[in-house]
């Protein structure tokens, strides 16, 4: 049966012979539209669908607990190991400066403010994106290329409800605790460096804790951690569900997940911080 030489394909064949530059322009244009409009659009659609799937019963408690435990197992130790030097470096940097000002008794105050407000959400975001997000993406992506996701849909089960929602919530749930962990471990690291190595007094370090910091600082950090967890879970799910092209496709998806999540989390961190300083007045000393 002969096929009439019509339609898009005919255009493509003509394009091959002449008009190479216009084809190239079109390709660049397609790419730009894809990156600027289509991908964010699809991601947003996935977010909405996931939001809707979140309120469908029954909630997958088993999957949630398993995933939460899994995320804890891949993030806790690295988080602590990153948090200790973070607190230490803050003490070293700020401690020296603050001693020159003669305000050594406020070392503790600066450490709390810096760690609770900024450092711990940042460390949490690094770990959530790097460890949890990549693991979730690899898991969902490999399921995608093995056609498990398709099989699930054909069996009448919504993979968003079954796989994505529990993972996303587990990620957010664990991020809350990671944030707390980083705050505590970071402060302990700061205390150790200040008291043991810089000759600060334990009393002054502890007494000045609430000089600058206040309770809303901790709350905004927890809100950040929760948002980071949700974001990392969604990006990982989006990239995983769109993985294609075999094992290399999964690798690419994981790579993109980590990069995109990092960037998004830093932007979110900036936005929430600036919003926080506008909404909550700083504590006067």
């Amino acid at each position: 049966m002969s096929t009439p030489d019509t339609g898009i394909d005919a255009g493509r064949r003509r394009g091959r012979k002449g008009g190479g530059s216009s084809a190239r322009f079109r390709k660049v244009g397609d790419g730009a539209v894809n990156v600027l409009v289509k991908e964010p659009g699809r991601f947003f659609a996935l977010c909405l669908d996931t939001g809707r799937a979140m309120f469908k019963w029954p909630f997958q408690w088993r999957e949630f607990i398993q995933q939460a435990w899994f995320i804890v197992s891949v993030t806790v130790v690295p988080t602590m190991l990153v948090a200790i030097p973070f607190g230490g470096i803050l003490s070293l940097q700020v401690g020296g400066l603050i001693r020159q000002f003669g305000a050594q008794s406020f070392t503790g105050a600066t450490a709390v403010a810096a760690i609770v407000r900024e450092a711990s959400p940042l460390v949490t975001s690094l770990l959530v994106a790097g460890a949890a997000g990549s693991a979730i993406c690899a898991d969902i992506g490999s399921r995608k290329i093995r056609e498990e996701i398709d099989a699930m849909e054909v069996l009448g089960i919504n993979p968003l409800h079954r796989l994505v929602v529990p993972r996303m919530l587990a990620c957010a749930f664990v991020a809350l605790f990671l944030n707390g962990l980083v705050s505590v471990v970071g402060l302990m690291g700061g205390y150790f460096f200040n008291v043991m190595l810089q000759g600060g007094t334990p009393g002054a370090y502890l007494a000045s804790f609430n000089a600058i910091a206040q309770l809303p600082d901790l709350l905004q950090a927890e809100v950040k951690a929760f948002v980071f967890g949700i974001t990392a879970g969604l990006v990982a799910a989006y990239k995983g569900l769109n993985a294609k092209g075999g094992p290399k496709g999964v690798g690419d998806a994981v790579n993109q997940t980590v990069v995109i999540t990092f960037m998004l989390l830093f932007v979110e961190n900036f936005l929430i911080s600036s919003l926080y300083f506008q909404l909550v007045p700083s504590k006067g000393m």
Binding site: M1, G7, A151
Partner: protein
């Protein structure tokens, strides 16, 4: 009894690349159909569109009175319960053992007790010859076993439509033959509508009631097996005879110079090989969807190539058929002409007076 699938003007493209356009066909209820096509013509895409995993750009897919691409999500999931799909590699859930994989749809969609589930799962596993492998993980078994496990999982909810994606890829010829026999037997038992996507010419020639051929972004032909096996259409003829001579080249289509060179050499596609007899159920049943051998040829005045419908034992199935059908009918069963009773599973679809009547 199976459900009819009616596809109208279906078009699908990825970006600027058209996969196929204006595909229209009706897959008759309860019959086995095979979809053929050179690699990369979008056979798997077609299968995925049929079950709503991919959304076509245009066109309708009618499953009963429901138009699949336009169904809201909740109804789509509901409609999918009519389908059983066997994916290329079985698509088993890697974290579950075979038993849990096969029990999964039952646990999700039914309120059966665990003992009932166990019975059903073991029955299906026996059907595909997997008894004893319940506790193996998908990573520990061979490709053939994965396919059979995937088939068992596709069967537990008693689907009305079974879609199979390349059952023979990566399987040895013996296992392929066994799997084909399983399809035939299953069709006889549950009467579901089968659509099998394959590359295997032997499967395509002996297994189905209907054959379709996708070529160059179009459905080249779809119809009864005998129609395609006796067709003069160059593409159909080349493909069903696995020949190098014809319009299909290494890169999907030959260019004009190649075709001219072929014409100059005076290549003749040759005489059509005989039509092999269709595979029969091994369990002594008669399939509701099966047509009498030679019926289409007789009805359309086509002379089948000499030696057609003769099996390995030298029996001519055109002559053998009435006797075979009669042997299926137990004493006292009231069957119309050509409509066998007995273990005949279900009545033939309306509009077709009997299994032997042809088109």
């Amino acid at each position: 009894m199976g459900v009819e699938i009616r596809v109208e003007g279906l078009t699908k493209s990825f970006g600027r690349q058209v996969i196929w356009q204006d595909v229209s066909l009706t897959i008759p209820a309860g019959e086995i159909s095979v979809l053929l096509g050179p690699s990369g013509t979008g056979k798997s895409v077609f299968l995925k569109s049929l079950v709503g995993l991919l959304k076509p750009d245009r066109g309708h897919i009618w499953i009963g009175d429901r138009d699949l691409p336009r169904l809201p999500e909740s109804q789509l999931y509901e409609t999918r319960k009519l389908f059983g799909v066997l994916f290329q590699d079985g698509a088993l859930f890697g974290s579950m053992n075979l038993f849990d994989n096969i029990a999964f749809p039952l646990r999700e969609h039914t309120r059966k007790r665990e003992s009932e589930i166990k019975n059903i799962v073991l029955e299906k596993m026996e059907m595909v010859g997997l008894l004893g492998a319940e506790h193996k993980l998908p990573g520990e078994i061979s490709g053939g076993m994965k396919k059979r496990a995937g088939l068992a999982r596709a069967l537990v909810l008693d689907p009305e439509i079974l879609l199979v994606d390349e059952p023979d890829s990566g399987l040895d010829p013996v296992r392929t033959a066994f799997l084909n026999q399983v399809f035939i037997d299953l069709n006889a038992q549950i009467g579901a509508t089968f659509l099998i996507v394959t590359h295997d010419i032997n499967t395509a020639r002996t297994l189905p009631d209907n054959i379709g051929l996708l070529y160059q972004r179009h459905l080249a032909m779809f119809g009864p097996r005998e129609m395609l096996l006796t067709s003069d259409e160059p593409v159909v003829r080349q493909f069903l005879n696995a020949s190098k001579v014809g319009p299909i080249g290494m890169s999907e289509e030959k260019d004009e110079s190649e075709l001219e060179a072929e014409a100059k050499l005076g290549h003749d596609p040759g005489k059509l090989p005989p039509i092999p007899p269709q595979q029969m159920p091994s369990n002594g049943m008669l399939r509701a969807g099966m047509h009498a051998p030679g019926a289409w040829c007789a009805a359309h005045g086509v002379t089948p190539p000499p030696g057609s419908f003769v099996d390995d034992l030298g029996r001519n199935w055109v002559e053998e058929w009435p006797r075979y059908v009669a042997s299926m009918t137990p004493v006292g069963a009231s069957g119309g002409p050509g409509a066998p009773g007995g273990r005949f599973p279900g009545s033939p679809p309306p509009g077709r007076p009997g299994a032997g009547a042809g088109y």
